[in-house]
């Protein structure tokens, strides 16, 4: 039931949306240059490209948050000037953002109501959101505060919010990057329904397998220009990747496991009550990570992964000292910096605001994270502790080079980096310490294929050098690619770890849905 691929010049009259010769300049720099493409009614159109290829800029112009420097956008054949997101919504263009545009202090229905017409009361919005979310299989609680939700749950809110406006064109920016395979399947079903209803979807993704399965056509951007167009079902992932990056993409080299008997990170009988009404209670968590081993924790968003990360990193102090051991030492009651000084490193899920301060320069973010653990390197004059800027800047430079962090200045503020580049910086900042224990939450969420490869390869290399690594991820591909053993988190509990070689995606998928996790005290 695929639409026919059109390689003929633009036939604006049939199009839902036509982009004609769009250019967006920032000074001399062209973020988008002479872009042409079109979206047909009822098609799923993929927009592909590496981070920094200009996808976000293009999409922002379609949604009215940015104005093109030149060129034209046609909506159903009529030239339009989309000067604001509300005008875009009025036309029938809906958008699900990658960097969510949600309000932490407001609840789900209030967040949704803000993008709707003012005639609806909050109660009506809540009722309709509930109805839509059940209909499309995107469960959410209208009264939950956004600040208490996980990334995956927030995305559901974004999607439902978009669907509430009954859009004819839906722009989805990296929608599956936080979903389990089963959840992604459900989303695809939703998309199929939407497509059957005659709506068009602009689908931005780094997962080429998905794009090949789902999308009718694809437009590929590189360095701000259209570098190709194709029918993805007729291509291989490798051939599409080549159009994106201009050369062949490698897969990571894992090699044989070097796992030893030496336990470097251990959690035993770790239980933690929920700290907010919407948080997850951790229930008797036990695991061991050995030297040279990567243990993967899979699971659907919001099953206690962020709570577990917080307790292991020391953002939340554990009940008992011996609940958590790093290199054999009880650390349950120690602060983050004391744990870091023992050789542990932590990379949280949110890059901005948690992994880095958005308005601080990279070197300041470097210093903030490591001023205690690298006291000798980063400070001088003994106890007075004067910051040794030169060393901090050197380390920043080193990390950016090793991790291939692409940036406009020598030392830009964190917020100016794209998601993938910032993630490379944050991970590089920790890897640079050669930590003996690394705990990392969602290593390559929303990161393009090239950067993800780089990140994963670095993690594997660190394990090879004898470190113990705990990877928490909702991306099953990533879990399988990296882990020596896999365990699944469901409702605050961990399943028995399974050897990666002896399990498969179906088994893990069932565990993620809560089937077969012991002492089945499931949520009602």
């Amino acid at each position: 039931m695929k639409s026919v691929v059109k390689n003929t010049p633009l036939q604006a009259l049939d199009d839902m949306l036509t982009v004609s010769n769009i250019t967006k300049l920032y000074g001399d720099f062209a973020a988008n240059k002479n872009i042409d493409f079109n979206i047909l009614p009822g098609e799923i159109h993929a927009l592909l490209g590496e981070n920094g290829a200009g996808k976000s800029t293009l999409v922002k112009m379609l949604y009215g948050s940015l104005q093109p420097s030149s060129g034209q956008i046609l909506w159903k054949g009529e030239p339009v000037s989309i000067n604001s997101p509300s005008f875009a919504r009025k036309l029938g263009i809906g958008m699900v953002f990658q960097h969510f545009s949600l309000f932490d202090a407001l609840n789900v229905s209030e967040n949704i109501a803000l993008s709707l017409s003012p005639d609806l009361t909050i109660a009506e919005v809540a009722a309709k959101a509930k109805e839509l979310s059940t209909h499309y299989g995107l469960p959410l609680n209208p009264d939950a505060l956004i600040g208490d939700l996980s990334v995956g749950e927030r995305q559901r809110v974004e999607i439902v919010r978009c669907l509430m406006q009954d859009p004819e064109l839906i722009i989805l920016d990296e929608p599956t990057s936080v979903l389990t395979p089963q959840e992604a399947e459900k989303l695809f079903k939703t998309l199929d329904i939407l497509k059957a209803e005659g709506r068009s979807i602009l689908f931005i993704s780094h997962r080429l397998d998905e794009v090949r399965r789902l999308c009718d056509r694809a437009t590929i951007l590189r360095f701000g220009e259209v570098s190709g167009a194709c029918d993805p079902s007729k291509e291989t992932s490798a051939s599409i990747a080549r159009m994106m990056v201009g050369n062949d993409v490698n897969i990571i080299k894992k090699g044989a496991s070097v796992s030893s008997d030496d336990v470097l990170l251990e959690a035993s009988q770790l239980s933690q009550p929920a700290i907010t009404p919407f948080a997850i209670e951790l229930n008797n968590i036990n695991f061991k990570v050995h030297s040279g081993e990567i243990l993967g924790i899979a699971g659907v968003a919001g099953n206690g992964q962020s709570e577990l990360f917080d307790v292991i990193s020391g953002e939340i102090i554990a009940d008992k000292d011996d609940n958590i051991k790093i290199r054999g030492k009880d650390v349950g009651g120690l602060s983050i910096n004391k744990r870091r000084k023992l050789g542990a490193s932590f990379v949280p899920e949110e890059r901005l605001g948690h992994g880095a301060i958005s308005q601080f320069h990279l070197s300041d973010n470097m210093l903030l994270a490591r001023h205690q653990s690298d006291v000798v390197a980063f400070q001088r004059m003994g106890r007075i502790g004067v910051v040794w800027r030169e060393m901090v800047e050197k380390a920043t430079k080193r990390v950016c080079e090793i991790m291939d962090v692409r940036k406009a200045d020598i030392d830009p503020i964190a917020a100016s980096l794209s998601g993938g580049n910032l993630q490379k910086f944050i991970i590089g900042r920790e890897l640079d310490r050669q930590p003996s224990v690394l705990v990392i939450n969602q290593p390559s969420w929303g990161v393009d294929a090239g950067a993800a490869l780089h990140i994963r390869q670095s993690i594997v290399n660190l394990a090879k050098s004898g470190s113990a690594i705990l990877v928490i991820s909702q991306d099953l591909d990533e879990i399988f690619e990296l882990s020596d053993r896999i365990t699944v988190m469901f409702d605050g509990k961990l399943s028995e770890p399974l050897d990666t070689s002896k399990t498969n995606r179906e088994e893990i998928g069932l565990l993620m849905a809560g089937v077969g996790i012991n002492e089945g005290k499931h949520a009602a």
Partner: protein
Amino acid sequence: MGLVEAILLTVFTAATPLLIAALGELVTERSGVLNLGVEGMMIMGAISGFAFAIYTGNPYMGALAAIIIGVLFSLLFAFLTISLVTNQVATGLALTILGLGLSGLWGEAFIGVPGIKLQPIIVPLLSDIPFFGKLFFQQDIIFYFSILLLIGVSWFLFKSRAGLVLRAVGDSHTSAHALGLSVIKTRYLAVMFGGACSGLAGAHLSLVYTTQWIENMTAGRGWIALALVVFASWRPNRVLIGAYLFGAVGIAQLHIQALGFKIPTQFLSALPYLATIVVLVIISQNRRLTMVNTPASLGKGFVADK
């Protein structure tokens, strides 16, 4: 009139300007703008209320003028901080200093001139209720207005759509902008509302509290109002508690001093501040609630992507 009634009435009079100014600032801050110029806007309200009451012979015209001058004065702040994205703290401080100076200049002619008092409005029937009638239904119009304002602001913030937009803008102006909400317009209106309230609160001082012009007569009440907003964790009903508590302890310590207890007067003068802080800290124990109510983008300038 019994002694208790008389004391309570003075408490009401002391609390009313604090309540009004704090509610105005609360709305301003909920939109993400920190206006430290409350003291300056209040004193401008006090002098313009006083002056226009004399010019027109009508204290109501004075109150109206105070509101208008308050709005105009806040517009200066709004233009600088919102349109020109100057630092909000520095600009707010400047506004206070400007207001104190300007009002002194304007008020020079009014020193020693008797003012015109806003007379109480006696509500028929209700004012005959023993005790309560006297307290609640024989008051000046600004008192009645302060209670309506409290209800109105609570309703606006938590029940109306415009209030939702205001809270959204204060929580994340970036997200609000991405959704197409007008950050600039919302903040302008919020700052102007704060200015109107501060102006009226100032007029209460010169038209009800003491019907004369004294330089610097706000005497730090603008700062108290600012502090109340923070300690009340940006919630209107807590501002009410704070304002009345501060007013009550302030009056009580005067009576204690009058009764001649051997407590240092400095300590007694500090008592209202102490009591207010203690009580508001205790009721702010719920950290989660405080976090949810704190406008996350408070004090941050907003510049839209181009």
